[in-house]
């Protein structure tokens, strides 16, 4: 059994706004093993991005980490001071952002931006050593060292995303958070970027949390998938399990709604809308949309139960506890 890199317990992220408290993340437990690739899926507002931001401690007011612990190699990030956290970001946990074009400064050459990134984390070497380092980094993500001389607008979307990957891996982090890193890219480039991410990940042995809503991408990339709904983790299982035998009704509907190319069929969406995170109703948050809801679901919130494959659904509570 490999070591656990990240261990999240009862994470709660609340946004205090005029109308009340939005429970964006509402009690998430999650363990990530060394070198593991975890996919975090859910629709917008399900709390997947907020969970990733909480790990980076980048929740901005009016949001706050209301409760819980986030242990990275046994060290609780929630209790760290901002200067301590700054050292963790980039060094131990790195982020590949969603929109590469917004993450890069449009008026500075790639070289200068990468040098800044290295210097910020205390790397201060001679020009030649630094240049050597940069060349190796961009080569690792499959780019020619020419790109160092270019401005972001001279790069294609895929190349920009590769640059952000190079920046993310430059300190060999233990954990990489990738928030929909390819949602702005075309399928071919998406595939190339994901393959690059996988290559560099296995080289440095980092764990990855891939946040997104594209189940196809998850199937291609992840070892394990966590399905989020209304701020809670409703199912957490291996990718094979999720696709071949989804246990939570939400996961099941999500997978059956995916279009494929193996014969035309009637497409079935999930009826209804996700609940407001402002006034959380009692019971299971998925109950109003669930085709298999029972009386119990309206009063009791199911817990996330199970050994390796976990699910939080009353259909499975007895099976799991027995």
């Amino acid at each position: 059994m490999p070591d656990t890199v990240l261990s999240i317990r009862d994470l709660r992220v609340y946004f205090n706004i005029r109308a009340g408290t939005v429970r964006a993340v509402d009690g998430v437990d999650l363990d990530i093993a060394e070198g593991e690739k975890l996919g975090l899926v859910g629709e917008s507002g399900s709390g997947k991005t907020t969970t990733a931001l909480a790990i980076m401690r980048m929740i901005k007011p009016p949001g706050e980490i209301a409760d819980g612990t986030i242990q990275l190699d046994g060290r609780d990030l929630v209790g760290l001071s901002e200067p301590e956290m700054r050292a963790v970001r980039g060094n131990d946990v790195a982020m590949v952002p969603q929109a590469a074009m917004n993450a890069l400064n449009p008026v500075r050459r790639i070289r200068n931006q990468m040098v800044d990134g290295l210097r910020d984390h205390g790397v201060n070497e001679s020009r030649e050593r630094m240049e050597e380092r940069l060349t190796t980094l961009v080569a690792q993500v499959g780019l020619n060292s020419n790109v160092l001389n270019l401005f972001p607008h001279e790069l294609s979307g895929g190349m920009k995303q590769r640059v952000t990957i190079a920046m993310a891996i430059c300190h060999k982090p233990r954990l990489i958070l990738a928030d929909e890193p390819t949602s702005a890219l075309d399928v071919v480039v998406q595939r190339q970027v994901m393959e690059t991410l996988e290559e560099v990940r296995s080289e440095i042995g980092a764990a990855v949390i891939l946040v997104g809503h594209d189940m196809g991408l998850m199937a291609q990339f992840a070892d394990r998938i966590g399905v989020m709904y209304a701020g809670k983790l409703v199912e957490l299982a291996t990718v094979e399990q999720i696709f071949s035998n989804p246990r939570h009704p939400y996961t099941r509907l999500l997978i059956s709604s995916l279009p494929d190319t193996a014969g035309k069929r009637r497409l079935q969406g999930i009826p209804g809308l996700p609940p407001s995170l402002l006034e959380v109703p009692p019971g299971c948050p998925f109950m109003p949309r669930c085709p298999e809801a029972m009386d119990l679901c309206g009063v009791d919130v199911p817990e996330l139960l199970g050994e390796t494959d976990k699910v939080s659904c009353h259909l499975h509570t007895e099976a799991a506890t027995v």
């Binding site: 196809g216 494929d260 497409l267």
Partner: protein, 370 residues
């Protein structure tokens, strides 16, 4: 109700035979940029001809990466952009030379669904605005009550509750709701043609299926011809009858969607299909060799070459000397690639000639029996 009657009477004049609603004839769109001494010409759409007709009304997908010209193609068909070369014909008349009443008819009958479900709403008005203006302009109702009834009918038709939707500002609805309201607008207008540009790419997965299914209903039951512009081949496969694959302004492959996606011929289409992230962990991406990242710019690929030459694993000498013609592989397929030179150059440049018309035979029946 009056609108339906009007549409049917308009279409039934050409009883039986397939009639052209909207046709592109050798359309080329060139965008020029840069200073006059170093002008760069970008061919967003390069000599494309095809037709959307009403008997049978089909769903035609246009797929390609960003910058392939698929969105420009849609904007040309909507009349938001006049092509540099070629003609756009609505019911046989050139849109450029239309009189006011013809133009109004064209505006009324060729409608759109956009990608971004937020920016289509004027933040100043409630969502009702997009319905009330259309009803007033096109005189779809004779009284307020009738208008209200039409709107509520359309909203219910896309699976939303009118009481929870109307009277709200766009920011008070979720992205999925906003996009469905936009589809409801098409349902109310019952146009002859809908140009849907990436209608589900900004919508959550759980709602995509619902919206696509509504599009299919619009086509099957109301006989509306739909151009479905997308970068997602799986939804194109599920929704469309035929597909055109675009690359840098060229239609590189076209035909029956079933054949094109399950047996791609053009090297670019193959690459696209291989890159689809299948929602199945047992069908992972195969090894991709010989495919190059797109270069820094188009420098190197001239107008006189095959547009895909710099990335193509099967490129031959000929590819850098001339642009391949479209070759007819069979009844329902054409490809713009020298690999298929033996098949012979297409006899008719109009891509629609190679479409499979079987797909929605029942749709014409549907509108007849109404």
């Amino acid at each position: 109700m009056t609108a339906t009657a009007e549409t049917i009477s308009a279409t039934s004049t050409t009883n039986g035979a397939s009639s052209s609603l909207l046709e592109l004839r050798n359309v080329t769109q060139i965008f020029s940029s840069g200073p006059f001494w170093n002008r760069e010409h970008n061919y967003a759409v390069n000599d494309v001809s095809f037709t959307l007709s009403d008997k049978p009304a089909l769903i035609t997908a246009v797929a390609g990466e960003s910058g392939s010209g698929k969105t420009t193609l849609g904007r040309i068909m909507l009349g938001f952009q006049s092509p540099t070369l070629g003609q756009v014909l609505y019911q046989g008349d050139d849109v450029a030379g239309m009189n006011a009443s013809g133009r109004k008819q064209y505006r009324r009958q060729v409608q759109a669904i956009f990608q971004d479900p937020f920016s289509v709403y004027n933040p100043f008005y409630k969502v009702d605005h997009i319905f009330t203006v259309a009803i007033a302009r096109y005189k779809l109702a004779s009284s307020r009550d009738e208008a209200r009834h039409l709107i509520e009918e359309a909203i219910s038709g896309v699976g939303l509750r009118p009481s929870e939707t109307l009277g709200r500002y766009p920011h008070q609805l979720s992205g999925g709701q906003r996009q469905r309201v936009m589809v409801a607008r098409s349902l109310l207008l019952k146009p002859q043609v809908i140009i849907a540009d990436e209608p589900v790419s900004m919508v959550d997965a759980s709602l995509r299926a619902t919206i696509l299914e509504t599009l299919r209903t619009l086509n099957h039951e109301l006989g509306i011809a739909i151009l479905y512009i997308t970068h997602d081949l799986t939804t194109a496969y599920q929704v469309a009858d035929n597909i055109m694959i675009m690359y840098r302004g060229h239609v590189v492959e076209a035909g029956d969607v079933e054949h094109v996606i399950n047996d791609p011929k053009h090297p670019y289409t193959r690459l696209l299909v291989q890159s689809i992230p299948m929602p199945d962990p047992n069908r992972r991406w195969a090894d991709m060799r010989g495919i190059n990242e797109p270069p820094f710019s188009d420098i190197g690929v001239e107008q006189t070459m095959c547009p895909f030459v710099n990335r193509c694993p099967d490129a031959i000498d000929n590819c850098i000397h001339e642009v391949p013609s479209s070759y007819a592989l069979d009844q329902t397929r054409l490809a713009k690639c020298f690999l298929y030179e033996d098949a012979g150059v297409v006899s008719n440049q109009n891509i629609t000639t190679y479409f499979n018309l079987r797909g929605s035979m029942h749709s014409s029946n549907g509108s007849d029996t109404k």
